[in-house]
């Protein structure tokens, strides 16, 4: 796969979702995920709904694009619930979707809200039986006394129907809010993490789960940090990592002990104590952690930067990329309007040569790890003309604002890109901008 910036020219491909100015809260996209082959793209929203798009190869009419994504299936994954014991509402918002590796004709994914994880099976049906004896074509029962002959039902082709059915429901294992799920490379287990605990499940068993990490202190007054994200290693089924609100990452090995409270590795970048401020801990909180496809590196996203860590080196990251350093002088306002608590995600490209993360004003940033070049692009309706190349954007930080640059104070902090996904094999990305899903790909000449 080609590298970035100089080599790749990103073009608009598609946009999904309504153009209304008034965005219903339920339509806000809360997670985006490609499946292992990249053929399917799943989105989850605050209304608890999942929409799956399928890649359809290019047609004769539009040979220049590498095909497009169209709706394949949509279903209501989670519904709002009320916890009667605590008098609390449980949101139906889908926090994460993770696909299982495909093992037969059907596709499986895990979707989770704050409390319950569900395993969904998405299967195709292209045939149906016709010629029943006891019921007619509309399904109404026939009078048995009127039946004078028997026939064998025949399978006839029908219009493709995609069905989604919940195969497993994993509930009642989390007291706190689930922030992550991750499928293990053994294809049998997966982990789910909430603010204080991580549980290990078997995909076939719903009435039991093993608690493998518990950081809840005996006295809640002593609570100093929470778990913010967790992920299984892509190849070593005994290794997983979890990040904390204090900016640290712990790597655990399930072979060491049943309860992995003691980490095998502890990743933390040393901080200059003289530069510490009220905001230091808040902006160091890690909002996302992702292993590279190779399994050699991991990437963490905190409020202002993205860091790449070599799993063999715990004392500092090997690469640090500034996402929007200009916000450092705006932390007071960002604290007041809560934006400082926004949780941005990050992702790798298929070859681990580039990384991507979102920012404000519908900007998103891509960094090429080899050339060290970066680019800022915008997901907007204005630049959404078919195959139009995206123009790089720039935020002016100094006093003088050049033409085409945007000043920090003009940024729209309500238009934030928290969720992005990169196709596992091609230079094709999905960017969630509030209630719209943008798909961009590189220009094919």
């Amino acid at each position: 796969m080609a590298g970035l910036s100089g080599d790749v020219q990103w073009c608009f491909s598609q946009v999904k979702g309504a153009i209304d100015e008034d965005v219903a809260e339920a339509d806000i996209i809360s997670t985006v995920e490609f499946n292992c082959s990249g053929e399917l793209l799943a989105t989850g929203d605050k209304g608890g709904r999942v929409v799956i798009f399928q890649h359809e190869p290019e047609s004769k009419n539009r040979p220049h694009l590498r095909g497009e994504y169209n709706v394949y299936s949509t279903f209501q994954s989670h519904e709002p619930e009320f916890d009667y014991l605590k008098s609390l509402e449980i949101e139906e918002k889908i926090n994460k979707i993770r696909w299982l590796a495909q093992q037969n004709a059907a596709h499986f994914l895990l979707s989770t809200n704050d409390k319950t994880i569900k395993l969904w099976k998405i299967s195709e049906r292209e045939k149906r039986a016709e010629g029943y004896n006891l019921k007619d074509e509309e399904g109404r029962l026939r009078d048995p006394f009127r039946i004078s002959s028997l026939r064998v039902p025949v399978l006839m082709p029908m219009d493709l129907m995609v069905e989604a059915s919940p195969r497993r429901i994993f509930s009642n294992a989390h007291t706190y809010h689930i922030n992550s799920i991750s499928v293990n490379s053994d294809h049998e287990t997966y982990l789910s993490a909430d603010d204080l605990r991580i549980n290990l499940w078997h995909l076939e068993i719903t009435d039991r789960s093993f608690n493998i990490v518990d950081i809840k202190p005996a006295n809640m007054e002593e609570l100093t940090e929470v778990i913010t994200a967790a992920e299984c290693h892509p190849h070593q089924c005994n290794v997983f990592v979890y990040s904390s609100s204090k900016g640290t990452i712990r790597l655990c090995d399930t072979r060491e002990a049943a309860l992995c409270d003691r980490h095998a590795k502890f990743f933390e970048e040393p901080e200059d104590p003289s530069s510490r401020s009220f905001f230091s801990e808040i902006i160091s909180s890690i909002s996302d952690v992702k292993f590279s496809h190779s399994g050699r590196y991991m990437m963490t996203r905190d409020y202002l930067s993205v860091k790449v860590w070599d799993l063999n080196m715990e004392n500092r990251p090997v690469e640090t990329y500034q996402v929007h350093e200009y916000l450092r002088s705006k932390l007071c306002s960002l604290y007041e309007n809560d934006c400082i608590f926004d949780k941005f995600e990050c992702c790798w490209n298929g070859s681990d040569s580039a990384i991507m993360t979102g920012s404000y004003n519908n900007f998103f940033r891509m960094f090429d790890r080899n050339t060290r070049r970066d680019i800022t692009l915008e997901a907007s309706r204005e630049s959404s003309k078919a195959r139009a190349t995206l123009k790089p954007r720039k935020v002016s930080t100094g006093g003088k604002r050049k033409k085409d640059e945007i000043s920090v104070d003009s940024l729209d902090f309500n238009r934030k890109i928290l969720h992005t996904a990169w196709h596992p094999h091609h230079n094709l990305i999905a960017v969630a901008a509030t209630n719209n899903l943008y798909i961009f790909q590189d220009k094919i000449n």
């Binding site: 929203d45 008098s87 940090e225 230091s280 801990e281 104070d409």
Partner: protein, 143 residues
């Protein structure tokens, strides 16, 4: 939508400390859209005082700004207060009755007035009934 804001963020501000549900009405002063105006050249009293800090660290300057606006903020921001409220995210209701009333209020706003229906001339059988429309609204992404 402001009622879904995690309670811990609101409890951090001194004037809403102690409130439980729906403290969002008190935070209208926080401008959610635009940033506070930073006019080049105009130096007010606070900025003058923190001019030295600004040269050293923009972060510390922002901290000073925050402290002048909220002098009662606790010394340890990332400590138990903030985290405990984060763990308790979600709007609390007094009981299930309170919850159902709130849900009903939301529904009433959305449902249009149903027109008076003509009653039929016979008792319907299951086969005569029209197919039940799904009550859940589909995602606009699938449109």
């Amino acid at each position: 939508s402001c009622c879904r804001r995690p309670a811990y963020r609101l409890l951090h501000l001194p004037f809403v400390r102690g409130l439980t549900s729906c403290s969002c009405t008190f935070v209208t002063s926080a401008n959610n859209t635009a940033m506070s105006e930073e006019v080049d050249g105009a130096v007010n009293y606070e900025e003058q005082q923190e001019m030295e800090d600004k040269v050293i660290s923009p972060e510390k300057a922002e901290e000073a700004k925050l402290k002048t606006r909220y002098p009662n903020l606790g010394a340890k921001p990332g400590g138990s207060d903030l985290l405990r409220k984060r763990l308790q995210k979600g709007q609390k209701y007094f009981d299930s009755g309170d919850y159902n009333m709130a849900k009903a209020k939301m529904k009433n706003k959305q449902l249009p007035m149903a027109p008076t229906e003509n009653t039929g001339d016979h008792i319907p059988t299951p086969q005569d009934l029209p197919q039940r429309k799904p009550s859940i609204v589909a995602s606009k992404l699938a449109g």
